[in-house]
């Protein structure tokens, strides 16, 4: 089966800066794909290369099996929802949405009908006559979305789609984007620096760092089995265990990750591994504990009921050896 988007050894250099460095990615048709990473990690450049705003310095790109390098954005059946929405200020909402139809010379009545349909899909029926300047941030986002899906692109790119929205709006928009993607069946690729957003929305996630893809996998894989310190550190509140520590448990010298939920606290008497509580914060149903164990700092999330460990108490620390995930990569 051909990939929706296929990047093969794609690089984009700006002078000495390697914004993308030999990136390989295969994104399946109909997939909801997230590109996650800190700012400057190359995820946005990657999106722009797929859209055609940037040309790769080296490598090969295919969109649904067709070669895309050397093809300008207006000949790619790929549309983008911009981070700043980029709505045309001189056009009203309806004409913004109908812009691509106008370029395809669809007649006026028909393109307005299709634009209305697209607006209905993003729950903005009746807003057609307004100017972008009269809308709230959330509404502008929906217009940008409607404009990008109105002629059913093969791939929809979203640049930090929820970045500018407040928390409450963000949560409802996550749901809506998911259901929109399901009903349209279009491949969605979105860029984000928020690991929570990436993990909760995407079918698969690619984690970027320094222009390279560190790991690609389902949210569960990324969260539970990070392949590198960078991914473990960036994706979640995982414990990172140094090789010396790991060696004492598994006999193997490698960096390892350990989820805070996997750690259990027992009375210190007779425990195989002991630790000192360095911090304690109450989180409602759980308690988050800072622990100092065998020269390593850990944190654990334990049920609030029945855990009365206080700061400076000595406690027993217990976890299943399988919970310790050894990482393949050095960094």
């Amino acid at each position: 089966m051909t990939s929706a988007v296929s990047l093969q050894q794609v690089s984009r250099h700006f002078g000495p800066i390697r914004a993308m460095d030999a990136v390989d990615l295969e994104i399946a048709p109909g997939e909801f794909f997230a590109m996650l990473g800190p700012s400057g990690s190359g995820k946005t450049t990657c999106l722009r290369v797929i859209a055609g705003f940037e040309q790769p310095t080296a490598g090969h790109i295919e969109i649904f099996g067709e070669t895309a390098e050397g093809v300008p954005p207006y000949r790619r059946n790929v549309n983008t929802v911009f981070q700043d929405y980029a709505l045309f200020p001189h056009l009203n909402v309806l004409d913004n949405v109908a812009y691509s139809l106008m370029l395809r010379k669809v007649d006026k009545a028909e393109r307005h009908r299709q634009a209305e349909d697209a607006l209905a899909m993003v729950k903005l029926s009746g807003y057609g006559a307004r100017r972008p300047g009269q809308l709230s941030g959330g509404q502008r986002q929906r217009v940008a979305l409607a404009r990008a899906i109105v002629n059913r692109p093969k791939v929809l790119l979203l640049d930090e789609p929820l970045g500018a929205l407040d928390l409450k709006l963000r949560e409802s928009m996550q749901e809506e984007l998911k259901s929109l993607q399901r009903s349209l069946g279009i491949t969605f690729i979105f860029v984000t620096h928020d690991q929570g957003e990436a993990l909760s929305m995407a079918d698969r996630v690619a984690v970027f760092s320094d222009g390279k893809v560190m790991q690609v996998g389902t949210p569960e894989e990324i969260y539970n089995r990070p392949n590198s310190r960078f991914v473990a550190d960036f994706v979640g509140s995982s414990n990172l265990l140094p090789p010396d520590f790991t060696a004492t448990i598994t006999g193997q010298r490698a960096w390892a990750s350990l989820r805070p939920e996997a750690i259990h606290i027992t009375p210190s008497d007779g425990a195989a591994m002991q630790g000192r509580v360095t911090a304690r914060s109450f989180m409602g149903s759980t308690v988050r504990l800072g622990l100092y164990v065998n020269g390593a700092s850990l944190h654990a999330v334990v049920p609030a009921s029945g855990n009365s460990a206080n700061v400076d108490d000595m406690v027993g620390v217990l976890f299943a050896p399988e919970a310790l995930h050894l990482m393949e990569r050095e960094t």
Binding site: Q55, G70, V71, P72, Y74, R75, N77, A118, V150
Partner: protein, 316 residues
């Protein structure tokens, strides 16, 4: 909604526009290069070329007998500038420019300060129009208006007469150098018109600089026990200085290079602009006119250099 069953890559567009558009996308620098070419050629050939021609002419000389320009390199034309009669013209012009600049600074500051700090809404608009209308009104008409005001039978004399202050005006006009037969043929008249015409150029940058002074800085200074005068002198004035210097560059350079104002309102003693006009016109001495034109360029170069050395641009 119609589902358009097209491929992921749309076909190439035909025609020259399609091909050009693709080329511009592939080579963004090509587009910038093409856009820059016409203006750069225009300014490079017509403007810089003319400035070079000016420099070239200033190194030519005029054959006194035939009245023709001798296109050979010589410094003799520049040497003529140091003849007493010509050098007087230069000194007179620089003094006039300095006086006009100083006076515009003094008159402009309260207007700029008021507009920047106190004027709101309707008043702000009034200040804006008060500066912009004279700025954009016809230059010649403004000079003409002052001719009407300063003429012997004109408004200013009428005002003095009505107030029975004519002896005061006469006393002023009898002062050597700045006085004269009437205001419209005196240095004072020239000075007033220069001041009027260039004043907006001083107000605008000063106001812009003052608008950037944060209000809390002034409050902080007051808080620390400074008197309003100390606040002005140690906080507001230094921060407004870049604006005043920017304005002074305009007033100074524009005065150096004008010849119409002193021609219409002023005495018979020339300033640089008049000398340039007279030499290239009736005298037909283009080399000397060119050499005279180089003088304001050099003076402005020195002026900018000094302003830079005094740190006037640091705050910009």
């Amino acid at each position: 909604m119609i589902v358009l069953d097209t491929g992921a890559i749309l076909p190439r567009r035909g025609g020259i526009f399609g091909a050009l558009s693709d080329a511009f996308w592939r080579h963004p620098k090509l587009l910038v290069f093409l856009m820059l070419t016409p203006p750069v050629l225009w300014f490079g050939i017509i403007y810089l070329g003319s400035l070079l021609a000016l420099l070239l002419q200033s190194f030519y000389s005029l054959d006194e007998f035939s009245g023709l320009v001798v296109p050979e390199f010589t410094l003799s034309t520049y040497a003529q500038l140091f003849r007493p009669s010509n050098f007087d013209i230069i000194v007179r012009t620089v003094l006039m420019a300095a006086a006009v600049t100083l006076a515009s600074g003094i008159v402009a500051f309260p207007i700029a300060y008021m507009a920047a700090r106190y004027a709101k809404g309707k008043w702000k608009a009034l200040f804006y129009l008060g500066v912009m209308l004279p700025l954009w009104s016809s230059y010649l008409v403004k000079v003409y208006a002052w001719k009407l005001i300063l003429a012997k039978e004109g408004i200013l004399n009428w005002v003095f007469e009505s107030l029975r202050l004519t002896p005061l005006l006469d006393a002023f006009l009898s002062i050597p150098v700045i006085g004269g037969n009437s205001l419209s043929v005196s240095y004072t008249g020239t000075f007033l018109v220069f001041l009027y015409i260039w004043l907006p150029y001083m107000i605008l940058p000063t106001q812009a600089a003052l608008e950037r002074v944060p209000v809390n800085l002034i409050d902080a200074s007051g808080d620390l026990g400074a008197t309003p005068f100390q606040t002005f002198w140690h906080v507001i004035f230094p921060l407004a200085l870049p604006g005043l210097v920017a304005g002074s560059i305009f007033t100074f350079s524009l005065t150096l290079g004008d010849y119409i104002i002193p021609n219409i309102v002023g005495s018979s003693r020339q300033i640089i602009g008049q000398a340039v006009y007279a030499q290239q016109g009736s005298a037909g001495n283009i080399p000397l006119a060119a050499a005279f034109t180089v003088v304001p360029i050099v003076i402005m170069g020195l002026y900018l250099w000094m302003a830079k050395r005094l740190g006037a641009f640091d705050a910009l």
